[in-house]
Symmetry: C2
Subunit: 162 residues, 2 copies
DNA sequence: TTCAAGTAGATGCAAACGCATGAACATCAG
DNA sequence: CTGATGTTCATGCGTTTGCATCTACTTGAA
């Protein structure tokens, strides 16, 4: 009898998790993270990919880190001169985060080495067709992202009429 | 012109990373982690899936955590009565980790609720065919796991002959 | 304008993590 | 048997994380 759709989904998710953990461990073991930790690189990469100035909460979408942790990570990167934080003229609460020249350079250097390892690992495991499939599947999974509003989103109902 | 194989691999990996982050955030936001953190659940789940007694370093293969961190996480789980650690009679260095009845029960309870969220998210994003593809791809990615030995594994070459 | 509600980011603090290292045991060549 | 080497897990310690909370600012309705 065929697996239920729910079972199928859970098996697929577990498979993704396992692959993620295995590859992350493998990449983490590579000797290229001496100037930038993987998380720091993740932030710099996200900033580099995104045109230029970026809000902290935007960054948070892509990085698996709590808002305070991300805030402090950016602190450290700024202290090291890799990221520039400027107040956002359009929103007094917000920041405009951008790579400095040094930051961009370091991201490129580490990124280049990392890409080699990624290509080696993924190419060894998958066919071109599978890589294309994975890319498409990942995109679809990430797209349903905004998460379901917690329970039925009440239409701003106030207290009971007093 | 077609993307290079290396580019293809990196795009696929980035897609996987993005999907992983998005879904993890979404699952983490669910109100089911009051008795067990996601990492703790991960450990209990791994123990539950694996027949019974498990070595710490085996656990480490599946969990994205350093060995000391895992060691202490298991400490806490043992203190809470969810995991049992016994010395391994076959290897004086090792441990035999197993779920207690309470641990298994808690894993089932949380796991049941979590599976619902996983199924909802994945089913909404993928077709049956895609879920099967993802499972297969993940398996292949995780299989190439043992990582290439750092550089050419020298055959235990000693110093230059003196 | 005024004020309630919402949002962006920072901060205090305890918990958890990673790195380096240590202790105990296993393994194997000589 | 003995000593060198490798493996498994634990521990010290400084750093980083998450949770709860705070401040500053924006938004929108009255």
């Amino acid at each position: 009898m065929p697996r239920s759709r729910s079972r199928l989904a859970n098996d697929a998710w577990e498979s993704l998790l396992t692959a993620h953990a295995a590859l992350m461990k493998r990449f983490a073991a590579e000797p290229i993270w001496d100037e930038l930790s993987m998380r720091e690189y993740d932030v710099l990469y996200t900033l580099a990919k995104h045109g230029e100035p970026m809000r902290l909460y935007e960054l948070g979408r892509g990085v698996l880190l709590s808002q305070p942790a991300l805030s402090r990570l950016v602190d450290r990167l700024a202290e090291r001169g890799l990221v520039e934080r400027a107040p956002d003229p359009a929103d007094g609460r917000g920041l405009r985060l951008a790579l400095t020249e040094t930051g961009r350079e370091q991201q490129r250097r580490v990124g280049g080495r990392h890409a080699v390892d990624v290509a080696r690992a993924v190419n060894a495991a998958l066919t071109d067709e599978e890589m294309r499939q994975l890319e498409a599947i990942g995109r679809k999974l990430a797209a349903c992202d905004p998460a379901p509003p917690p329970q039925t989103r009440r239409p701003n109902r106030q207290e009971a009429p007093r």
